[in-house]
C-alpha cells in the first residue's frame, strides 16, 4: 500500500516538476546505514535506508517526503536461538509546501510533529549523534508524525536575532502507515547568531482519548569559535517529565577537519525520565529511567560516518543494563533529472 502511494505520488510530481522551470530539478537525498545495539544480553542489527525526496515546482511550491525502511534482526529468544528478522516501512513525511512570503510557509500533508528539536531536526540517521532517540521524545510528538496543516517561518530575521515559529493542527487518522492523532500545538524559538544560541518552547494539546497538554523547552548552542555543539530538551506531560542534554566536540582544531584526529568527535549525552502516571500507549518508559552515554563519531570522506557509544541505563525497580551501540551511516544526494554534474 505504502509503496503504491509512494510510486503514484513520485510519478505525478515528476510530471509536474518537468512541466515547471528546468532549473527546478527533483533530488533524492537521505541516508543509509547499518546499526547494531547490545542491551544487556540482547543484540539487534538494523539495516536502514531513509530516502528523502524533494520536488520543487515553480518558485513557491515544494513537495518533500522522507521514508524509513528498516530491518530488525535479533535472536528468537532474546539472547539465544536462531536469528530472525522483521521489516518496517514508515512514511515519515509527505508534505506540500507553499512559500507564501519571506516569513510564512503553509504546509499540508503528513509532517514531523514540531515539538522540541529532536523529532524535526535531529532524528535523521545521518544527523543524530547517537543511534537511538532520547526517552522523552514521545512527549508532545503524538507518535512523531502528524496529518494536517502547518504554518511556519521566521517571524523576525535580522543579523542580531531570529524569531521562528511553527503552529499546526493534526487530524485523527487510522489509515495504515498514515496514522496520526488529533492534536494542535506550536513552537516558538529565538536564535542569536552572534553566539550561536537558540532557546525555544513548545506546546501541544491532545484532542482525543485522554486530553492533555504537553510543554517543552529546548536549547541549541553552536559557537562559531569552537567545533562544539550542545543541544538539549526538557518536556513535561501528564505521563511524566524528563530531559536530555548532549554535547559533541569535533577535534578539528588538531590538524584541521580532514586530519586523522580532526575527523573524530567525542560525544556525551545524559537523559532522565520521571514517570508520574501510567497512561496506556504513551510510548514512554514504564518507570523512572536515567542513562548517561559516551560515544565517538568518526567522519570518513565521502559522507560516511562511523559511530560507537556506551551507556549505562539505570531503571527503577529493575536491573540496570549496559547499552553498546555501533554503526555506520552514509549520506547521499542525487539529482533525478539529467543535467550538469558535480
Amino acid at each position: 500500500m505504502l509503496t503504491k502511494i509512494f510510486r503514484a505520488v513520485t510519478l505525478i510530481l515528476f510530471v509536474l516538476s518537468g512541466a515547471s522551470a528546468q532549473s527546478n530539478i527533483p533530488i533524492i537525498s537521505g541516508g543509509a546505514g547499518f546499526l547494531t545495539a547490545t542491551r544487556g544480553d540482547n543484540t539487534f542489527f538494523q539495516p536502514v535506508v531513509a530516502p528523502v525526496l524533494v520536488v520543487p515546482f515553480g518558485e513557491k511550491w515544494l513537495v518533500e517526503s522522507r521514508a524509513d525502511l528498516r530491518g530488525f534482526i535479533s535472536r528468537e529468544n532474546g539472547s539465544t536461538g536462531p536469528y530472525q528478522g522483521q521489516f518496517f516501512a514508515t512514511l515519515e513525511y509527505l508534505q506540500l509546501d507553499y512559500n507564501a512570503n519571506s516569513h510564512l510557509t503553509i504546509t499540508a500533508g503528513r509532517f514531523l510533529t514540531p515539538f522540541g528539536i529532536f523529532n524535526e531536526r535531529i532524528s535523521a540517521i545521518w544527523i543524530n549523534k547517537f543511534q537511538d532517540a532520547p526517552a522523552i521524545v514521545a512527549i508532545g510528538t503524538a507518535g512523531g508524525y502528524s496529518d494536517g496543516f502547518m504554518l511556519r517561518g521566521a517571524l523576525i530575521s535580522n543579523d542580531r536575532y531570529v524569531v521562528n515559529y511553527t503552529t499546526y493542527f493534526s487530524t485523527l487518522s487510522t489509515v495504515n502507515k498514515l496514522e496520526s492523532e488529533r492534536t494542535f500545538g506550536g513552537r516558538l524559538g529565538v536564535f542569536i547568531p552572534s553566539v550561536g544560541l537558540e532557546v525555544g518552547t513548545s506546546y501541544q494539546r491532545k484532542l482525543q482519548d485522554q486530553r492533555m497538554n504537553s510543554f517543552g523547552t529546548h536549547l541549541s548552542w553552536t559557537p562559531s569559535a569552537l567545533p562544539l555543539e550542545v543541544k538539549g530538551e526538557w518536556a513535561h506531560s501528564l505521563s511524566g517529565h524528563g530531559y536530555w542534554i548532549q554535547g559533541g566536540y569535533r577535534l578539528s582544531q588538531l590538524g584541521g577537519p580532514n586530519s586523522a584526529i580532526g575527523r573524530l568527535e567525542p560525544v556525551f549525552r545524559m537523559q532522565q525520565f520521571f514517570r508520574s502516571r501510567h497512561i496506556a500507549g504513551d510510548s514512554l518508559p514504564s518507570t523512572n529511567v536515567r542513562r548517561p552515554e559516551f560515544g565517538l563519531n568518526y567522519y570518513l570522506p565521502k559522507e560516511v560516518r562511523l559511530n560507537a557509544s556506551y551507556g549505562r541505563q539505570f531503571i527503577s525497580q529493575s536491573t540496570d543494563v549496559n547499552v553498546w551501540e555501533f554503526g555506520i551511516t552514509y549520506r547521499f544526494l542525487l539529482q533525478l533529472w539529467p543535467g550538469e554534474s558535480k
Binding site: 532549473s23 527546478n24 530539478i25 527533483p26 533530488i27 537525498s29 524533494v54 520543487p56 515544494l62 518533500e64 509546501d97 512559500n99 512570503n101 519571506s102 516569513h103 510557509t105 504546509t107 524535526e120 531536526r121 535531529i122 544527523i127 511556519r152 517561518g153 521566521a154 530575521s157 531570529v162 511553527t166 536564535f191 547568531p193 552572534s194 553566539v195 550561536g196 537558540e198 541549541s220 553552536t222 559557537p223 562559531s224 569559535a225 569552537l226 562544539l228 555543539e229 550542545v230 542534554i245 554535547g247 566536540y249 556525551f268 545524559m270 536515567r290 567522519y299 570522506p301 565521502k302 559522507e303 549520506r331 544526494l333 539529482q335 533529472w337 543535467g339 550538469e340 554534474s341 558535480k342
Partner: protein, 99 residues
C-alpha cells in the same frame, strides 16, 4: 550520589566550554573588525551566504562534500522549510553553494 557527581562534572564541562567559546568569539570579532572589508558585491554576498550557512545549516549537520548548482537549488528550497529560513537567507545561502 554518584549520579549527582556525573551531572556536576557534565555541567562544569559545558560551562567551561561556554566561557572558552565566548572568549574566542570576542577575540575573533575584534580581529575581523580590524581587517579591511571585502570590496565586490559578489564577494560580500558569498561571505554573508557562508556565514548564514554556518549559523543556520551548520547547527545540525556538516555541509555536503559535493553539490552541483542545480542540486543546491533544490536542497536550499528544502532547507528553507526545515530550518525556517527567511527568503533572504535562502538567497544568500544559494549564492554561497552555487555561485
Amino acid at each position: 550520589m554518584r549520579h549527582r557527581i556525573v551531572i556536576a562534572v557534565a555541567l562544569a564541562c559545558f560551562w567551561s566550554m561556554f566561557v572558552l567559546a565566548v572568549a574566542q568569539t570576542d577575540a575573533k570579532l575584534s580581529q575581523n573588525n580590524s581587517k579591511s572589508k571585502p570590496s565586490g558585491a559578489t564577494t560580500r554576498s558569498q561571505t554573508d551566504g557562508e556565514k548564514r550557512f554556518q549559523t543556520n545549516c551548520g547547527r545540525c549537520h556538516n555541509p555536503p562534500e559535493a553539490i552541483s548548482p542545480r542540486e543546491a537549488r533544490a536542497v536550499v528550497r528544502h532547507m528553507r522549510i526545515r530550518a525556517m529560513l527567511s527568503a533572504e537567507d535562502e538567497k544568500l545561502i544559494l549564492e554561497f553553494l552555487a555561485p
